[in-house]
Symmetry: C2
Subunit: 345 residues, 2 copies
DNA sequence: CTGTTAGCGCGTTCAA
DNA sequence: TTGAACGCGCTAACAG
């Protein structure tokens, strides 16, 4: 009905000074039990809640962190955000969210703006590293930053990623074991860390088997994948298997192959990096490299809050780099014939 | 490196009062062009950025809104969040996010806590209406609230939903036109507005065709759907078609039917409410009632910002209720035999 | 057109 | 153990 009660009103009602109220709220040390209970009663009666804004202005603690992802509409990032948020809330922190839409300028603008909002720390999945990141700017030196999914080569930024190289290598090796000699790699953005690293893992696997690796093909849409496959499958040395660089590409590939009326894995085999919902229900079920999506967000948040606990002087010279394990989930699109999914470390 | 510059420093450097700096930053009216440019230069040189916290403490404008969803991990809500965030950013607002995990207590706690953070407005997808919502509490009277996906029967809350009744009715009618006489309805939470309304639409369609509608079955997991279908399909009057109350149930149903080695739509037909990624790539492609997910978030945000523009005195007596159109997307699981999807208004 | 004064609500001195 | 006064950075009133 009326405006919210302030600390002064509580103090008056309890016949104490505002300082006492403040103490009861925070330390609760050096306050006699009976005074404290009087204060509590007053708080109750007035429905008083501390004004977080005023708190933040006074001290340096805004009790909020910022999260910037390329796009929340992407289920992968949505799950990351979900887990980060869970950790944040458990620590009493608010999470402010923003999308960079894969634009370095937007990313920088959002990050800078979050600093104005006095977030205590920043969690970022950085945009493609085509341009040097401006997240190393001096204004960010006093704010802990953790990057995830894609690392940031900056001294002040910790990072959490998965074993992209090893995972892609293992997946490709599996394809080779199925007898494939011509395997193509499809990505969306060749400058993207994840895609680049996965392509490198793929390359190593082929080289080790004395086979010729292909380029990292850039296919940004279902149409692009369709056109590419249609063209290349008509050529000599047509691929007999596809390695899809991420789950979006996997889905595009599946759609394109369907339109081309090709049978998986008989006409062409497929393995994709990153599992997705219903991948096991496709016809055929898709073999994938599974990344620990839940763990990724949680770990990144944990790393950030760990840094938040440390005073700035104690920040490590070199920030931590965490790498999460991935698994090869064998289903049928690779050529295996399992009833259910099988997991290989 | 050093602490951020404050307004006073800018003022000193530009040889003006802080008020002038403030004016340049906001109105920029009643300031001589040359003074303004001196101020701008000083701002530039110091890399000054206004402290949003102080601004928020001073005025009532925190330039932030709160969003509470049952779970960000759900793609449906992730997309809503994405669109809401886009609108918010375009208005210069930050979005604070929280999940209620379908708990009324958590929902209330998060909402209350957001008020402490002085959000200017709240967007909420309310938890199941099993318990009367506490969002009508007096403390929320001064804060505009918009609920989406599920309405809230409170005078101070506007809402944006889709045509659940009409959509479910149309889908069920379609099943009836295919000759089905025994159609079962599967939901997850019978008290949920969306599920309840869709079940009602389903019931009306059957009644209108002089058929007997079934209960709203509660199936909270793939296991539950599996057990239910296994049992009921062995009984007399076994269903020849299933109406799935939302996309999660659709996926469960698809999985369960697969495990039961039943053919869709020959052994049993399926229609689901709410489309999802790859639904058109399943075997067979799933016929669904498609809701305008993108529009939902955007509309809800628009409604909120409209309210934010109005002074409290001008708030309408009765809050707005928006209902978004849905479409029947015909694929193959209903019994139709299309090459591609067909859309019916 | 511009500067001065006075808080916003809290927590941190320092004195009682 | 407690309270008074000051100031965080900014802007709404009022002068000038």
């Amino acid at each position: 009905m009326t405006k919210r009660a302030t600390m002064i009103e509580v103090a008056r009602l309890a016949n104490v000074g505002t300082m006492t109220v403040s103490r009861v709220l925070n330390n609760s040390t050096h306050v006699s039990p009976e005074t404290a209970s009087r204060v509590h009663a007053a708080i109750e009666r007035l429905g008083y809640r501390p004004n977080e804004i005023a708190r933040a202005l006074r001290g340096a603690k805004s009790k909020s962190i910022g999260l910037i992802v390329p796009s929340l509409a992407d289920p992968f990032f949505a799950i990351c955000a979900h887990n980060i948020n869970t950790v944040a809330r458990s620590q009493g922190y608010a999470m402010i969210l923003a999308s960079s839409n894969d634009s370095p300028d937007t990313e920088f603008a959002q990050a800078e703006w979050m600093l104005q909002k006095h977030v205590e720390g920043l969690l970022i999945c950085p945009v493609s590293a085509a341009h040097p990141s401006r997240l190393g700017d001096p204004i960010f030196q006093r704010t802990p930053i953790v990057s995830f999914d894609r690392p940031l080569a900056l001294p002040n930024v910790a990072s959490v990623v998965v074993e992209n190289h090893a995972g892609a290598k293992k997946g490709t090796q599996h394809l080779i074991e199925h007898g494939h000699k011509h395997i193509h790699f499809l990505g969306d953005a060749p400058d993207l860390f994840t895609i680049k690293t996965r392509h490198e893992g793929y390359r190593r696997a082929l080289l080790a088997a004395k086979l010729t690796p292909g380029e990292c093909m850039t296919c940004n849409s279902e149409e692009a994948v369709f056109d590419y496959l249609k063209r290349v499958l008509a050529e000599p040395h047509a691929p007999s298997a596809i390695f899809a660089g991420n789950n979006r590409i996997s889905r595009y590939t599946f759609r394109a192959l369907n339109r081309l009326e090709l049978r998986i894995p008989d006409d062409i085999a497929v393995i994709g990096f990153d599992d997705f919902d219903m991948a096991d229900m496709m016809q055929p079920p898709l073999t994938v490299i599974n990344q620990p999506v839940d763990l990724m967000g949680r770990t990144a948040a944990d790393v950030l809050f760990e840094k938040l606990r440390l005073p700035m002087e104690e920040w490590p010279e070199q920030e931590s780099r965490t790498s999460l394990k991935v698994q090869l989930v064998l289903r049928a699109s690779c050529g295996c014939a399992f009833g259910a999914s099988t997991v290989e470390e």
